[in-house]
């Protein structure tokens, strides 16, 4: 079964290596052991600017990459320029919004998403619902610039033609799945949480297997716990194939065709 991992952070002391290239080589060795064919790297460009192009040239058939983008304190024009440089004119294929990146539903950020869509870029948005606050409620402990799955739903409703990936299935996946359920242009990524039995089964039941994508969130998580969510789920082999790579390959196909990459 082909496995592509959408969600890799190629950094941190858990991954041996001094440079990005060394760390990625070591990640690929572990990925080989775990049966994973391709890795999607979330890249903080300012750290690795000179390393990125040679890395993707060397591993054209093993890697795909995303710009880790910040919305709330970076001028729109700068983000557009980043996409033009690294996606339209470089080797990367998508954008990723992280937990500190800004609330994705704020209308002022729309040009980022519409420009990404015009480049056929894949759009990944971190989401989580952390219980807290007074009175306690899901999302009450979120970071100030952290999107909730409900924010992805608002964005999706405003742009029903733009495919979006709701990262981590909202963290609290029983709520996250419900939040994005009505919006057919939203897929969920299952990575980053504990391997609680039932997550993938509920997502398949409520969204359909075509809207679920495997990702691990390595190195903050391991490959093992995240692969287990699919390997261990009580779903069909066909559904596992879609989650492990079929759906991601479908989302990547337009930009891959434009760049001459194989999917």
């Amino acid at each position: 079964m082909k496995i592509w991992d959408l969600h890799i952070h190629p950094e941190g002391e858990r991954i041996p290596g001094r440079t990005l290239a060394e760390k990625v080589e070591n990640l690929l060795r572990i990925a080989d052991r775990m049966g994973i064919e391709r890795l999607g790297l979330f890249l903080e460009l300012e750290k690795y600017e000179k390393e990125i192009e040679p890395l993707f040239a060397r591993h054209r058939d093993r890697l795909f990459g995303f710009i880790w983008m910040t919305l709330w304190n970076v001028p729109l024009a700068d983000n557009i320029a980043l996409m033009n440089r690294w996606i339209a004119g470089g080797p990367l294929i998508g954008i990723k919004m992280g937990g500190y990146s800004g609330i994705c539903s704020v209308p002022a950020y729309d040009p980022v998403f519409t420009h990404a869509a015009s480049l056929k870029a894949v759009i990944y948005i971190h989401t989580w619902l952390k219980v807290g606050g007074d009175p306690p409620h899901p999302g009450g402990q979120n970071l100030p610039q952290e999107s909730r799955p409900q924010d992805v739903a608002v964005l999706a409703a405003r742009h029903p033609g733009i495919p979006l990936i709701c990262g981590h299935t909202g963290g609290d996946w029983e709520l996250g799945i419900r939040a994005v359920r009505p919006h057919k242009n939203v897929s969920v990524e299952i990575g980053g949480g504990f391997p609680a039995r039932g997550q993938v089964e509920m997502a398949v039941r409520e969204l359909g297997a075509e809207r679920i994508i495997y990702g691990s969130d390595v190195s903050g998580r391991g490959f093992a716990s995240q692969l287990a969510k699919v390997h261990g789920a009580a779903i069909s082999e066909r559904e596992k194939e879609l989650i492990f790579s079929g759906n991601l390959r479908r989302l990547l196909a337009p930009i891959a065709r434009a760049k001459g990459l194989s999917v």
């Binding site: 039995r197 261990g232 009580a234």
Partner: protein, 286 residues
């Protein structure tokens, strides 16, 4: 328990891997130190009936499962929780499920629950959930329980965490157990045998406590909850291979998670054998 030769054991370790991730072989040998019967209070899931769970464990090559009850988290009538647990284990998994009863040392007459676990239900150990029962390891009641269990030769399994704190029901928010006091307790109660379940998410967050626990040869920690790249290897490097036991935390977690962590860590056959079987057997005793 059936004795398992080396070939059979290795087949068992392969059986723990999911189809597609490696050859699936029949056979057995794994001691799974973290299994629950009954139902998680906040969700139904596959494997939350005893026959289903036993079938799941057998499918993955588990020969022995240390088994507690989800009922122990919120119920006050521990005697009936433990009696049901023992009966379920006998009825559906006599050869595989080993019941670990619950004792709450802040309930009146907990000593009777401990006596019944030992003398009537013939359990080899007990499983405690200090956070769900609103005490800490610093509480003198816990030290009394640890001493009383040790005097009876019962192992004590301390469960520190049940689910991601960020996703708790807003009205049922349960803190993680602080294991900081445990090494000092073990110094004071030298006969105590302790297994820690769901104690740590990462080694870096608890390196000092883990290193101190690693010095006691009557302590084991599982890695069901540990989750970061190659974290099992980091655990072994910190505590020593002799302190690490296999816990799947089934049915709450997919069994494949613990099994695949063994593969991710690229362990030797000897280390695999120690973690999947020998360390747990040694701690539990004859």
């Amino acid at each position: 328990m059936t004795s398992v030769n080396r070939r059979g054991f290795l087949k068992g370790s392969l059986a723990a891997l999911p189809p597609g991730a490696g050859a699936a072989q029949p056979a057995a040998g794994i001691v799974d130190t973290s299994v629950y019967l009954s139902q998680w209070p906040f969700r139904r899931m596959d494997g939350d009936t005893t026959p289903e769970l036993v079938a799941l464990l057998r499918r993955h090559g588990v020969a022995q499962a240390w088994t507690g009850s989800f009922d122990a988290l919120l119920h006050k009538d521990m005697s009936s929780v433990n009696a049901r647990l023992a009966a379920e284990c006998r009825r559906h998994g006599r050869d595989i499920l080993v019941p670990f009863g619950a004792v709450n040392p802040v309930l009146p007459d907990w000593e009777e629950d401990l006596r019944r676990c030992h003398e009537e239900l013939k359990m080899p150990g007990i499983r405690v959930h200090p956070n769900y029962q609103n005490y800490t390891l610093k509480d003198p009641a816990f030290e009394r329980l640890l001493r009383a269990a040790a005097e009876r030769g019962l192992m004590v399994q301390i469960v520190c965490w049940m689910e991601d704190e960020r996703h708790h029901h807003p009205l049922v928010r349960i803190p993680t157990v602080d294991l900081g006091p445990l090494p000092a307790l073990l110094e004071r109660v030298p006969q105590a045998r302790v297994a820690v379940a769901n104690g740590f998410q990462t080694v870096s967050g608890a390196r000092q406590t883990l290193a101190r626990l690693g010095k006691f040869d009557r302590v084991a920690v599982d890695f069901a909850m540990m989750d970061a790249l190659m974290e099992l290897r980091a655990l072994i490097e910190t505590t020593g291979i002799g302190r690490v036991v296999f816990g799947s935390y089934s049915p709450m977690f997919y069994f494949e998670s613990a099994a695949l962590k063994m593969r991710e860590a690229a362990l030797s056959d000897a280390d695999t054998r120690a973690i999947q079987r020998d360390n747990a057997r040694r701690l539990l005793g004859p």
